[in-house]
């Protein structure tokens, strides 16, 4: 089974994010970058599937040279090889990222593509599903469980108020949701081995695309930090009863939310 994982390097979720001087990007100095947490689930699931079915796990990422670190981490977890697509100076929107990934995927075997359902930096919920559409293959999103049998993948997915079970023939793309697995840590031998695993860098031209094909349709006009919430008041009272009664009264009469 040829399994491809789509992976993005993002700032760690514990990071404070500040707007840079240009007003359209973030200050990256001092930020710790990690594998997008949902993509980490994707790497783990790909490894689990390979362990059961045999095959190869290839990690593909779009990002700057630095993103190779995240691919190496995936290789240290156990993936076999990596491809970094470096867009250079191009400002990419989600659809163009999907186009780069789809172009790379067309040139490599893939029975199953595993991705995170969103990247926790852009939060646009677009790339994975768009890749499936560009490749003309089925996609299953928000996956918390999967089984493969008879050339089909069957997944349990979260939906509002419950779960759905969805089946699709391979090749297909699935997008991981929290609950799918607990990603393994890279072991020390894994880290040593990862240094020798193949990691290829491709430029946009290597994928048969050029800047004219990749004009962004979504552009950031301005970034800002949401208004800081000011703390309100601590409800005082002599007893739990008094505090609870005062809170209920405030919610009813002052905030008018009950």
């Amino acid at each position: 089974m040829e399994i491809v994982v789509l992976l993005k390097q993002v700032p760690a979720t514990e990071s404070m994010i500040a707007v840079a001087g240009d007003g359209v990007s973030i200050k990256s100095d001092g930020l710790k970058y990690v594998i997008n947490p949902y993509d980490e689930l994707a790497v783990e699931e790909a490894l689990v599937i390979r362990e059961a079915q045999g095959g190869t796990v290839t990690i593909v990422s779009v990002g700057p040279a630095k993103a190779a670190e995240a691919i190496r981490t995936g290789l240290a977890m156990g993936a076999d090889k990596g491809v970094l697509i470096d867009p250079g100076d191009l400002a990419l929107d989600g659809l163009n990222t999907a186009k780069l990934l789809a172009a790379a995927l067309k040139a490599m075997p893939h029975d199953l593509i595993v991705a995170g359902h969103r990247a926790v930096d852009d939060d646009n919920f677009q790339v994975a599903t768009a890749v499936a559409e560009l490749l003309g293959i089925p996609n299953i999103s928000m996956v918390v469980k999967q089984t493969i049998a008879g050339g089909k993948i069957r997944c349990v997915c979260t939906v509002e108020g419950g779960t759905r079970e969805v089946e699709a023939p391979l090749p297909a793309l699935i997008a991981a949701q929290r609950g799918l697995n607990n990603p393994r840590y890279a072991s020390l031998p894994g880290i040593m081995k990862a240094k020798k695993k193949p990691l290829e860098t491709k430029k946009v031209a290597d994928l048969g695309l050029n800047a004219a094909d990749l004009q962004p349709k979504v552009r950031i006009k301005a970034l800002k930090t949401p208004a800081e919430r000011k703390g309100g008041r601590v409800i005082a009272g002599d007893s739990v009863q008094a505090k609870a009664a005062a809170l209920a009264k405030a919610l009813h009469e002052e905030a008018k939310v009950i």
């Binding site: 979720t13 514990e14 404070m16 994010i17 973030i26 949902y38 989600g94 659809l95 926790v120 930096d121 852009d122 939060d123 646009n124 919920f125 677009q126 790339v127 599903t129 768009a130 499936a132 559409e133 560009l134 089925p138 999103s141 928000m142 979260t158 939906v159 509002e160 108020g161 419950g162 779960t163 759905r164 079970e165 969805v166 089946e167 699709a168 297909a172 929290r178 609950g179 349709k217 979504v218 950031i220 006009k221 970034l223 800002k224 930090t225 949401p226 919430r229 703390g231 309100g232 008041r233 601590v234 409800i235 739990v240 505090k243 609870a244 009664a245 919610l251 905030a255 939310v257 009950i258």
Partner: protein, 321 residues
């Protein structure tokens, strides 16, 4: 191309989701700014009778794709039908609710139509013909204003961020001849809790964090029930296995904007705060007066949640009668 807005309606258990009415209301304002009309499209099986409800929120025209092949809400089938409707209706903007289905559909549609997509937006406007959307990034730590070019542009709207308001529209129903063809994905089973309000759509959320100390959430559940709300969990509570991942609020869970958010025994890690700070009113109940959440809460009670919650639940029941 028209200057119209096409709202993609979504049903759950035979009723329109609230976000559909919110999107129609946002669509009316957008249509006003662009000089077009609001139209809606309903896809599914047995949906025709309910379509007229969309007129009450201003839909001038309602495209109805009613076919047994659309019973499953499989993204692939919906994408094909929607692409047909868009080709005929030529809207300037396609609006969807940023639900599980809406987000998947929006992404597939963007690739199919080679169209701009701004996902999970909290505001959308048009000025001088230019559509601009505001969307949270980095789990809500940053708000991005983005411009969308081309036609149509696609915007998905986060539930609970727009006010749904009625305004009568002509509501002319136009049936769509559905040509779905073979659909590879099949929904084989579904398990829905009929009474359960999803966190993203809930007006009230009561969340239990690490301070719960165990999987017994009955005190939180009782308060949520008294308030008619949903139960949430912090990441550490989910990591402990006390609650399912679908209950998680925060950067690696759900971003929520309820009217009232009650955080019980939640310290308020930055990822959690980012995911709930757009709530209208925040209440924190925590033993630790220095917990970060206390500085963000409109109302805070310093105390043991297991003592406070039952009394608070009783007080709220008194008010609600």
């Amino acid at each position: 191309m028209t200057q119209n807005i096409l709202v993609v309606a979504e049903q759950a258990q035979s009723a329109f989701r609230k976000v559909t009415f919110e999107a129609l209301s946002a669509g009316r304002q957008l249509a006003g700014a662009l000089g077009g009309a609001v139209e809606a499209v309903v896809m599914g099986s047995g949906v025709e009778a309910s379509a007229a409800q969309l007129a009450a929120y201003g839909a001038a025209k309602i495209y109805v794709a009613d076919d047994g092949a659309l019973a499953d809400a499989a993204t692939e089938a919906y994408t094909r039908v929607l692409a047909q409707v868009i080709e005929a209706a030529k809207p300037a903007v396609v609006l969807l609710g940023a639900t599980t289905q809406g987000k998947d559909l929006a992404a597939r549609l963007s690739a199919r139509l080679d169209a701009a997509l701004a996902g999970d937006c909290v505001a959308v406007k048009a000025e001088g013909g230019q559509v601009t959307a505001t969307r949270p990034m980095y789990g809500g730590k940053i708000l991005a204003e983005v411009t969308l070019s081309g036609s149509p542009v696609i915007v998905s709207i986060r539930p609970n961020t727009q006010t749904a308001s009625q305004a009568a529209g002509a509501g002319a129903v136009e049936k769509v001849a559905v040509q779905v063809g073979d659909v590879a994905t099949k929904v084989v089973a579904q398990q829905l809790d009929a009474g359960k309000v999803d966190l993203t759509e809930a007006d009230v959320i009561v969340t239990g964090g690490r301070g719960m100390g165990c999987p017994d959430y009955s005190a939180v559940e009782a308060l949520a029930a008294a308030l008619g709300g949903a139960v949430g969990a912090s990441r550490s509570a989910v990591d402990e296995g006390w609650r399912p991942a679908s209950d998680q609020v925060g950067q690696t869970g759900k971003t929520v904007s309820p009217n009232l958010y009650v955080a019980c025994g939640v310290s308020g890690a930055i990822q959690h705060l980012a995911g709930m700070s757009s709530s209208k009113v925040i209440v924190a109940i925590n033993k630790d007066p220095e917990a970060p959440i206390m500085a963000k809460a409109d109302y805070a009670i310093v105390g043991d949640l297991f003592e406070v919650l039952p009394v608070l639940t009783a007080e709220i029941k008194k008010i609600k009668g």
